[in-house]
């Protein structure tokens, strides 16, 4: 039996803000499900299984938050599992849903997640607890200081300037003006980024994503079901991931398999994703990327590892506008993670935005003639990576069930 092709037929996102005190956690999840079902033109009873996307529960304070959401997401009586790979959670959840369908076990699967990072007074204190209690927690490590170290290493290797990182922020906030769901948006200048308060060198406040609350959902199904619901579904044509060691010190130096500055794990994941999707030249075949960039330093190493340019060249291409709307490849037309970061669903939002681009439903964010759109997600100590491809044509050679 050949596997069925898998397609996205609907996505939904709530507004993302610092706080969503107007809704409880499961109500937020429900809002996203309703939006996704409406987008898909489906009813809850047409969903066969649910994958719940949620990262650390300590942010919002209820360990069984996903099980609390069961009745709100019409999951009662259905298979239901929660996926959690840190910041990569949403990407992994979409890929888990893909496995549900491609395995032939289920036909239509809902991915849903919600997060409310500001329920906790200081998310970075919780993010200190992700590290080893004996060796690392006492070093004041959090995701800001951790990635700042990698950014410094990247700057040293490729002579990157703080202004080049700042231009990434300017582009992200500008793109987000077209995204009604985005948390941060606006027309700012490089000087505004440079003048924002210093947090951890080289980061200033504007180099860092916000803490967001909100929810997202996606409906995936087989190609034969999709054709009845969507004139232009987004086929999931490539799905891959890679996991590295937690220890950052083991990811630099002559004995390291990969350099933490380069996010080179993505080379391995992208190669497998591209093999599945039939991508041989990313720059010419992929029109949109929705990459996971909670910090301004995350775009350059990712774009290089994903094969859009050689090492050390992304910063120059960025300066030249190659990653702007209308550039060689549109990077984060939604504004990306720099503008919106509900951690447990951020990877799902990336995938949803990429799928919408293929489906032609991105409205003011829409890039013309999108055939392939790529989404990434990253988690842990920049150690978990997913790469997912959405295309306007199904994966070649597969038999439709």
């Amino acid at each position: 039996m050949k596997r069925p092709n898998v397609a996205v037929v609907g996505v939904g996102q709530t507004d993302f803000r610092s706080r969503r005190d107007d809704k409880t956690y499961p109500e937020l999840a429900q809002d996203a499900v309703l939006l996704a079902l409406k987008d898909a033109g489906m009813l809850p009873e047409q969903i066969d299984a649910i994958v719940f996307s949620m990262a650390p529960t300590e942010f919002m304070g209820v360990h069984d938050c996903e099980k609390w959401s069961v009745d709100y997401t019409w999951a009662r009586g259905k298979p239901f599992m929660r996926v959690h790979t840190g910041g990569a959670t949403g990407g992994s959840a979409v890929q888990a849903a893909y496995a549900h369908i491609a395995s032939g076990q289920y036909r239509t699967v809902l991915v849903v997640g919600a997060d409310r990072i500001t329920e906790t007074p200081d998310a970075q204190q919780i993010l200190n607890l992700i590290w080893d209690p004996f060796y690392e927690q006492d070093f004041a490590l959090n995701t800001v200081t951790m990635t700042a170290l990698a950014a410094q290493r990247y700057m040293y290797k490729y002579k990157t300037t703080e202004e080049q990182f700042a231009r990434v922020v300017v582009r992200a906030r500008r793109n987000a003006l077209n995204n009604p769901s985005a948390h941060l948006k606006g027309k700012i200048e490089v000087s505004d980024v440079m003048a924002s308060p210093r947090i951890s060198w080289p980061y200033k406040l504007f180099d860092i994503c916000p803490r967001s609350a909100g929810a997202a959902a996606m409906v995936l199904t087989t190609q034969d079901v999709a054709k009845d619901y969507c004139a232009r579904p987004a086929f999931l044509t490539g799905a891959s991931g890679v996991s590295n060691t937690v220890f950052m010190g083991d990811r630099m130096g002559s004995s390291a398999d990969m350099d933490i500055a380069d996010q080179a794990e993505l080379v391995k994941a992208a190669n497998e994703c591209y093999r599945q999707a039939g991508i041989t030249n990313p720059m010419s075949q992929i029109q949109v990327t929705e990459i996971y960039d909670p910090f301004s330093s995350f775009q350059f190493p990712q774009l290089e590892s994903l094969g859009f340019c050689d090492r050390g060249h992304a910063q120059d291409l960025s300066d030249e506008g190659a990653f702007d709307m209308g550039g060689a490849v549109a990077v984060n037309p939604s504004g990306g993670t720099l503008c919106t970061n509900p951690i447990g669903v951020t990877g799902l939002v990336r995938a949803a935005e990429a799928a919408r681009q293929v489906m032609g439903r991105s409205e003011k964010m829409q890039v013309k003639n999108v055939h392939n759109a790529l989404a990434t997600a990253i988690g842990g100590s920049t150690q978990f990576f997913t790469v997912t491809m959405f295309s306007d044509e199904p994966r070649g050679g597969a038999t439709i069930l």
Binding site: E58, A75, G77, F80, S92, I130, S243, E272
Partner: protein, 364 residues
Amino acid sequence: MDVFVIGLAMQPASDAIRNERLEEFVQRTSRSALDDAGVSREEIDHVTLAACDELDGRSITSMLLAAPAGAYLKDEMRVTDSGLAGLQLGCMRIAAGDLHLGIVASWNQSSIAPVEDIARMRAEPFYLRPVGLNLGIADGLFANAVAHDLALTEHAVGQRVIQRLQSAASNPRAVRRKPQSIREINHSEMVAFPLREGHRAPITDGAVSMVLASGEWVRSHPDVKPLARIAASSSAIDSYRLDRQRLSGLHIFQQCLKDVLARAGLESVNDVDVVELEAQSGWYDLALTQILNAGEDVAVSPSGGTWAQNPFFCTGLVNAAEAVLQVAGRSGAHQIDGARRALAHGVAGYAQQAHGFVLFEGAL
């Protein structure tokens, strides 16, 4: 499903693992599973983990555990529901076609975790947390509901606990426990009426790793003899509400059982030789076996079930390992002669909100 188990390992049963870090015994368990399968870590293409942050005391426990479990530079994914859910996702990842050889790993070192405090934080904050809901109270509510609706008695529950302890005594992978008398059980501390401490299966530490392979991989490696084929899998979740209908109806348990049998092309549970149930107390055990309604030829929890070992979060994967060993003829003293099909059961959530089954068939 065209998915096979080609190797497995279980951490030796223990109430408390004191001499090793979690990372160490998880690594050793995955290493042993690979050795059991006769494959190297370099050959695997993915890892599926099942682990609970809160029990492990880390906000993203897989950060420290993924590599020891075998996932260094591999395609890795994690579920947080239960060990059995990890196995189910691992099977689907292989059946999807691009991955062919992987590890499923789950663990629990609850001896160093404040389990009831963690359980209390599982509750939503508006209604359940203020009344102090925890595992004991949720399980007590279940016991009360099935005592009334299924006519279960405290005496029968005690007898079931004794029966399981006797089975566990012949399981080489069980924690050694002294026999309990019905008097000791009936006079043990009351946890939440009518649930007594003596009715509950002790929570242990533990870890399980399994090596799964696609049919394509198995057929291209004739030197590797699979232990079992994954015949079918099912799962479903019930309402979050702890109302009496949900608790004593066990509708999701019945639905999942029916589904897994149908997916395997079987007519009834009597077509299965062994069922390993996840029952956290004698009340669950009695209720589930009553609903199961299996004939005398079906061995239910011959391992002793949760009274053999109960590493809480990954107990469903322990059941799966015991089921695989049964159809592979490697169970030991409690081997059921001629076992061809074995069904593993797992649960998740307050008072078994979610149920799942995986059915294994002998691969030869």
